[in-house]
Amino acid sequence: MVKVIEASGVKKHYQRGPETVRALDGVDFGISSGEMAAIVGPSGSGKTTLMNLISCLDSPTSGMLEIAGQDVTGFSESQLIEIRRKNIGFIFQRPHLIPTLTARENVELPFIFSKQKMNGDVISQKLDVVGLRGRNHIQVRMLSGGDMQRVAIARALVLNPKVLIADEPTARFSTRVRIGMTELFRQLVRSGLAVFIATHDLDLAGSCDRMIHLQDGVIVPKEMSSLYA
């Protein structure tokens, strides 16, 4: 198993007026390919902050972060974009698709931005994987919420990232959709992808190989997590 993400002593402090918000206050963790990890914790515990850091959308205040063996601390914005394009697929609470485009066109976007030669087969294959075979050319605004999120997953996968990072991907969906999506994540992990999910969804978290409890910006043992208090 190859380490995809390795973080040690990662801190992220925000300045809010005179007050320093220690959103993350020294976090160590790692995730390898073929592994599915969940990060759980109450609202405001720092989950989103951590997701943003490891997906290189933000830089830590201090600490070390390695993506696919590369130390990215101190990387410039354009270097971070490259790292992101090569290694990271990201999905959000909401699908955030471009509503004027079809499912397929949305999945094409990362290709366009990365200036890679468009590979139609890869796009079809990813749409098949997420279960949208035959609905490639549908305008995404005609899709159900769950299917939109599947398009978003296909979009996150299309450049063959090493890790899929998902910030509360099921929070807005029905139980049926959640179960389907949990299955999809497991399937992706079986194919060798690392999947890292921030979630409140205990079923989803429970199906992960590992659960990390976050509280007030630090990782705590399961027993101390207020989630079970």
Binding site: N52, S55, L57, D58, E77, S78, I81, R84, R85, F90, F92, Q93, R94, H96, I98, P99, T100, L101, E105, E108, L109, P110, I112, F113, S114, R155, A156, L159
Partner: protein
């Protein structure tokens, strides 16, 4: 699929708003096309009108300017003479389109006006006379057979007064010569109607005014050069210049006020359109804050976002430009009518001349408008930070 396609599809998202913005640009462009067309057409039509007026400058022998002016307005000239060399000297001037010399002479005829007596006006002319007074038409007969023929052409009233028709003979009192009437002009409504015309050379011989002329009628190639030309003419000794000040003043006023009108309206139209475009695109950028954040999160660079928004702006302006061109072509006749109603002096003929140059200039102008108007919204979009953009709606 390319960035351009995404940009285009974005415009379709808010169809009505996009249409209004495109419409705004289209109106500005149509105004621009019409104004450019007006600028070209108006000057051409005015020039045409002025062409029809014949000569614009009269160079005469020095004398009382008022007397000379009066005589000129009546179609005559001063009774002072200058050397024909002056004519030979100035006809080669580059700025002159046409020039014609004339020799005016009056003869007292005791039989005139039913025996009460009066002056008959004789004018020696060259064939260029007809070009400088283009309204002069033959009622009957034709031009003199020779440069020094003993022939006359009579003005309409002169012929009626003397009861002459083509082929008849005429006798000038005090000059022992019999002349043949070879032509009669139609009525022109000017002093020329009472004149008896002779070939210039014949007039110089008959009246014993060898190598003398009274004046030169001059028409310039470009009326805008009139001022400078006039000044230069003052340098020629023994002459004075009388220009159709009215013509000159009016023309220059009309053209320059048209230019001011055109420029100010065009600036306003373009400015309003630009504000509309910037406003629309900015609005759509802010509405799509999250979307832009997500695009960055999935690998779009600042430059990608800048180009996308810039393209949208250019697209709006280009579509507006095309629509404006079509509108100007279709609505040209309406504009023509409106403009004619607004002008203090509307020349004959088409005054809004929609040229390919005007169309192309305006289209390029619209694209440049897009290039410029797009910079700020594109910059704003490209500098959005992805996490904040995405968070803004969660």
């Amino acid at each position: 699929m390319k960035l351009l396609m995404i940009a285009f599809k974005n415009l379709k998202r808010r169809k009505l708003r996009s249409l209004f913005t495109i419409g705004g640009v289209a109106i500005a462009v149509a105004v621009l096309v019409s104004l450019l067309g007006f600028s070209a057409g108006y000057k051409k039509a005015l020039t045409n009108d002025i062409d029809k007026m014949g000569y614009q400058v009269l160079v005469t022998a020095k004398g009382c300017p008022y007397e000379a002016a009066t005589l000129m307005l009546k179609g005559g000239g001063g009774l002072r003479y200058m050397e024909q060399d002056v004519y030979n000297g100035i006809v080669s001037d580059e700025r002159i389109d046409k020039a014609t010399p004339q020799l005016i002479h009056t003869v007292y005829d005791p039989d005139r006006l039913d025996g009460r007596g009066g002056f008959a006006l004789y004018v020696g002319i060259m064939k260029s006379h007809l070009e400088l007074k283009p309204w002069t038409k033959f009622k009957s007969g034709k031009w003199f057979t020779k440069d020094d023929a003993d022939e006359v052409i009579m003005g309409f009233e002169a012929a009626e007064l003397e009861q002459r028709s083509v082929g008849d003979k005429i006798f000038i009192p005090g000059i022992e010569k019999i002349l043949t009437v070879v032509g009669i002009f139609e009525r022109t409504g000017t002093q020329d109607d009472g004149v008896i015309f002779l070939p210039l050379k014949s007039a110089q011989q008959l009246f014993d005014l060898k190598d003398k002329i009274s004046g030169i009628g001059i028409k310039l190639k470009n009326i805008e050069e009139l001022g400078q030309f006039e000044e230069d003419m003052y340098e020629v000794p023994g002459t004075q210049v009388i220009s159709m000040a009215q013509v000159k003043g009016t023309f220059l006023n009309l053209v320059s006020s048209a230019k001011v009108l055109v420029t100010s309206v065009a600036i306003i139209a373009v400015f309003v359109a630009a504000i509309g475009v910037v406003n629309t695109i900015l609005m759509s950028v802010f509405e799509r804050t999250q979307e832009i954040g997500v695009m960055k999160a999935i690998g779009a660079s600042k430059l990608d976002i800048f180009r996308l928004i810039w393209m949208e702006t250019i697209l709006v302006c280009t579509l507006g430009g095309i629509a404006g061109n079509i509108g100007a072509l279709l609505g040209g006749s309406i504009v023509e009518r409106v403009v004619k109603g607004l002008l203090p002096y509307a020349p004959e003929g088409q005054i809004v001349l929609i040229t390919p140059t005007a169309l192309l200039t305006s289209l390029i102008g619209a694209i440049i408008l897009g290039l410029v108007a797009g910079i700020y919204p594109a910059y704003r979009a490209s500098s959005m930070r992805p996490i904040e953009a995405i968070r803004s709606g969660e």
